[in-house]
């Protein structure tokens, strides 16, 4: 959808354009038929329930008659939220966790997929693929308990700590309380995430790699390109579209941190730096049952997301990519 220059059209030209439009619609009639089921799905299950966002402007409780004039409180849920002394802290924590994931985690599945693609012994490649997907199915509770096991500090003088704690102590001579550090929590969350999802994240890129035309490699080999050159000039460009799409979509969840993982790793020493929008909404909304407030926070997150997607999409297009829309 390249931007077209606005030009003044004569009525005649307009009529022609309109007719052209109709011929195009007619030409694509089967395409419309194809996308019809999906379109209806979005209307019925996504757009229709959208009135739920109005909860953000109400003093809502489940079962409140919806379309009445009562209980409207305007932007009070929002002003409560923005006016809250912890708002900036929550924003800061959320952005740190999210951007660390974006910078350190996002490229890893791509790298791993490219590495896996270099394995030419087919059975070994398949075995490796299967193994790296496994962590995706290990529940966060188990991952948290293993993290505690590895990182714990000694409970009493003379006792030993977790495996990683002892290794760090042996290497640096320092006794580091990783579980209780206000900043280390970010690295713990990141590494847990990398461990759990990198393998699973390769799937999409492997599918993209499977679509690369083999003839190109053959031609490149004839031209004398080495492995690295093949990677840079054939493989990466071939999956770049997928990478960009994934990146733009990822921008849409830039304020999503999830709550389960963080809550499992939280304690009184790192809570200040690890409380995010999601953990807060979980406590206020799910536990206290304050739906108006949590919907307002959700709405705020959505607006930021849509801005981020829009920005990423525009940047992608400027960089010569197709973008998402």
């Amino acid at each position: 959808m390249a931007k077209t220059q606005k030009v003044q059209l004569t009525p005649q030209e307009k009529a022609v354009a309109k007719q052209k439009k109709w011929t195009r619609i007619k030409r694509d009639k089967w395409m419309y038929l194809l996308l019809l089921p999906g379109f209806l799905y979005f209307i019925v299950f996504k757009i229709v329930p959208m009135w739920g966002v109005l909860i953000a402007f109400k003093d809502y409780y489940a079962g409140m008659p919806f379309f009445t004039l009562e209980h409207w409180i305007g932007f009070r849920n929002f002003t409560d939220f923005f006016g809250d002394s912890s708002f900036l802290q929550l924003l800061r924590n959320t952005l740190i966790i999210s951007f660390m994931n974006l910078i350190f985690y996002f490229p890893l599945p791509i790298v791993l997929a490219l590495l896996l693609n270099e394995i030419k012994v087919q059975w070994y490649k398949k075995a490796l693929q299967t193994l790296v997907y496994v962590p995706h199915f290990v529940s966060m509770v188990v991952i948290a308990s293993i993290s505690f096991m590895l990182l714990k500090t000694p409970s009493m003088e003379g006792a030993s700590g977790g495996g990683l704690y002892e290794i760090i102590k042996a290497m640096t001579g320092k006794e580091v309380n990783i579980l209780g550090s206000p900043t280390a929590i970010y690295w713990i969350l990141l590494i847990q995430n990398i461990w759990k999802e990198t393998g699973w994240g390769t799937i999409i890129f492997l599918a993209a790699l499977a679509g690369v035309d083999v003839e190109q490699y053959e031609a490149a080999i004839v031209d004398g390109a080495n492995r690295f050159q093949q990677l840079i000039y054939i493989t990466v460009p071939a999956i770049l579209g997928t990478i960009v799409t994934m990146f733009i979509l990822r921008m849409g969840s830039v304020l999503d941190t999830g709550f389960e993982q963080i809550i499992l790793m939280q304690n009184e020493l790192n809570r200040n730096t690890s409380e995010t929008f999601d953990t807060y909404v979980y406590q206020v909304g799910r536990i206290q049952g304050n739906y108006g407030y949590s919907t307002a926070v959700g709405l705020f997150k959505s607006i930021i997301s849509i801005i981020c997607i829009q920005t990423a999409n525009t940047l992608a297009k400027k960089a010569g990519q197709t973008g998402l829309y």
Binding site: Y41, W51, E118, L128, L206, Y217, G241, G298, S302
Partner: protein
């Protein structure tokens, strides 16, 4: 396959590094799961006192006995397993139908109305009405307490659909043109050319959707009333809950930690078994060359 004629020393060293690195990674990734399996065969006290072990000292199959014994929880567990398999298979087929048709429809460049539809999709990906409005829609459509409620409300993931669309757009345009000259309609091209060429994509997103259905318990919890209809994961959650409930019966102590681990194993193994069968389709991309040539 790429024929490897000349292998430089650099290539060999590169290979060694890549193989070694990936092998180490694979071990790191899989050790915790082996721990989970080992723990599911260990008594609770062993789980609570031994760190990260791979072989239990005092192996026991108590947890599995309780979960799988038809006299105990077995009947319900196997029944719900059957339900989950059906919901997952039917659900995934429906997902793929809705997702690919819409994605293909939106992949045509210059399609009038494409922009607004895409924006609507993105809009719904970011904004959501929440639990109660969706519940009302599901009920109004008569799907409450039916399996349809587990399948249709999630028929398309906007995220997946947009990526699939991207794959369709990357298909060589020449193929479609050739087919359309041969007199195929757009639907014909979609069925005869686009889908077969996209097998890796279908396998990938089929897997994503299937895993989603398999692990979903929340939809069942919300939309189903009849406990006989409960799917696997919801029953497994109940098993974990039951082992946590210590108060009511002072004489029956179920080994909570062992049960938890066994539940993870039982819940995961079926989907891990299915995976290798899907895996062969991931390599199907070579067909692109074949058809073209």
């Amino acid at each position: 396959m790429i024929s490897i004629k000349r292998r430089s020393i650099g290539d060999v060293i590169g290979d060694v590094i890549i193989y070694a690195l990936l092998t180490v990674l694979a071990i790191i990734m899989v050790v915790p799961f082996i721990y989970v399996i080992a723990a599911s065969f260990a008594p609770e006290y062993e789980i609570q006192t031994r760190p990260l072990f791979l072989i239990p000292n005092n192996p026991t199959v108590d947890a599995y006995k309780r979960i799988l014994d038809p006299n105990d929880m077995g009947t319900r567990v196997f029944r719900s397993l059957g339900i989950s398999v059906v919901v997952t298979v039917v659900g995934t087929i429906i997902n793929l139908f809705f997702t690919t048709t819409m994605a293909y429809g939106l992949s045509r460049s210059g399609l009038i109305g494409k922009g607004p539809i895409l924006k609507m999709v993105l809009f719904t990906m970011v904004f959501g009405g929440g639990m109660i409005p969706l519940f009302l829609v599901v009920r109004a459509l008569g799907m409450y307490d039916t399996y349809a409620a587990l399948i249709l409300p999630g028929a398309i993931s906007a995220y997946n659909m947009l990526i699939v669309r991207n794959f369709f757009m990357d298909l060589p345009a020449g193929l479609e043109e050739a087919a359309s000259i041969d007199g195929c309609t757009d639907i014909g091209i979609f069925v005869k050319i686009a889908l077969p060429l996209s097998l890796p994509v279908l396998a990938t997103f089929g897997l994503f959707y299937a895993v989603g259905h398999w692990n979903n318990y929340f939809g069942a919890l919300l939309y189903l009333n009849d406990q006989n209809k409960y799917p696997f994961q919801l029953v497994l959650r109940n098993i974990v809950m039951q082992s946590q409930e210590t108060q009511t019966d002072p004489n029956a102590l179920i080994p909570e930690d062992t049960m938890k681990m066994a539940v993870i194993v039982i819940g995961t193994v079926p989907i891990l078994i299915v995976y290798p069968f899907l895996q062969k389709h991931f390599a199907a991309g070579v067909m692109v060359g074949a058809i073209k040539g």
